[in-house]
Symmetry: C2
Subunit: 225 residues, 2 copies
DNA sequence: GAATCCCATTGATTCACGTCAAATTCCTAC
DNA sequence: GTAGGAATTTGACGTGAATCAATGGGATTC
């Protein structure tokens, strides 16, 4: 990321590798004091905003290489909870140390700004997805997002396992479980993918991409101009 | 914000006050190179992500005191466009200078992290709004948000003018114009507010708050667990 | 290995909100 | 002041996705 090797070492020294965590464990909960950012090494994590009655809004699924906890910097309080979806290795980065380090390493500071900015961009894309795309487009976009992120990490972009339930997918995408389930069935019937429980095999990424972009064609109603 | 007076002066020196801008002017457009962050002094601005066909997703409305452009840091490219809604005074903050300054003033760096983090939290709240709230709850939340922000700036939290059209409100909230219009009428009939074109008079903020929280009661379907 | 629970799927039905259409008012420009 | 266009409102209607309901299959527990 444009850091010099000495700097990388200094950064490396403040990162703690935690013991493996298991499905259902919490990295942190809403309201907890903020100490560390977390980086997923292996496995996966979901973040969600709980509401009083036990309901929740899933805010994201975090795969290897991804950072968790940026929204907690503001008030030094976590605004969401983070739950392990499958046995995972997670690194902890004490934020105060990171902050200190970043003020002596300009390129690290720059990376931090970029990281935060990227998170904002991603959330904005998600807003667009929820604001103007229908159920089919949302699920297609979700699958492509997973595919892209797996690929980036050297995993197969076509063949992977979902560590989250249909329920969680629906929650994340603003859809009912039943809708998600029906869409998987439809996508399979249309030959776009094969699905068997948690196992997904994407057979036509191009077609999925076309679905996500379908929205753009022709003047649209809900959120145009 | 915890800066010393000498530091404030240094910060102040890099901020440029632009001449007043008018309705329809662009602060920047999607794809433009990123140079500056913008702070609204007076007036209002909308940011939106244009799509090929001329449609768009409104990402936010920005009132006095609010910052624009944080999502452009990552790639030094603006990912959205920013359009003036009414005659406005806007300050420009050259980001490279701000970044430089922040590496010599730890508390400024901290504020920057907090600012970026806050933006993420806000976007996440918006995701929850779009993901799990119905039309009525969305509009109520929107009005309360405006009210709160006006109040914070010393304006009346009850009595204000909307600088954006019904269309833009609908777009922002993922609703059709007609739905927004009908909801204003309904809220008025229910005595929650008075509306006459752009002029809004909130008569029962508590009732509006109750509407936004309605969602939380009882197990819900779309996005629960 | 049996019992239990959760997850997923599928079908039938309902409903909130989008779509279409039309009337009215407002705003801008010449 | 007048014409044209945009914004807003209101009504009628259609529909995509939620809700309700029921079944089957994995997975976990003791």
């Amino acid at each position: 990321m444009g850091l010099e090797s000495g700097d990388v070492e200094r950064l490396d020294r403040i990162v703690k590798r935690s013991r493996p965590l298991h499905r259902g464990d919490h990295l942190f909960r809403e309201g907890d004091g903020f100490q560390c950012l977390y980086i997923v090494k292996t496995g996966s994590v979901k973040t969600y905003a709980p509401s009083e009655d036990g309901g929740e809004q899933v805010l994201g699924f975090h795969l290897p290489g991804e950072l968790i906890g940026l929204d907690a910097i503001e008030n030094a309080i976590h605004h969401c909870s983070a739950k392990i979806l499958e046995t995972s290795a997670i690194c902890e980065v004490p934020f105060s140390q990171l902050e200190e380090l970043s003020s002596t390493i300009p390129s690290l500071q720059h990376q931090m700004y970029r990281l935060l900015s990227k998170e904002i961009t991603q959330d904005e894309n998600m807003l667009t997805l929820l604001g103007k795309n229908n159920a089919e487009e949302r699920l297609a976009a979700f699958l492509i997002s997973l595919s892209t992120r797996f690929k980036r990490r050297g995993f197969s972009p076509y063949d992977f396992y979902l560590s989250m339930s249909r329920h969680e997918i629906g929650n994340y995408l603003g859809l009912a479980v039943e809708t998600v389930s029906r869409l998987f069935t439809r996508f399979q019937d249309e030959g776009l993918l094969q699905v068997e429980r948690k196992h997904i095999l994407l057979k036509d990424l191009d077609a999925l991409s076309r679905i996500t972009q379908r929205q753009q064609q022709g003047e649209n109603k809900r959120q145009s101009t």
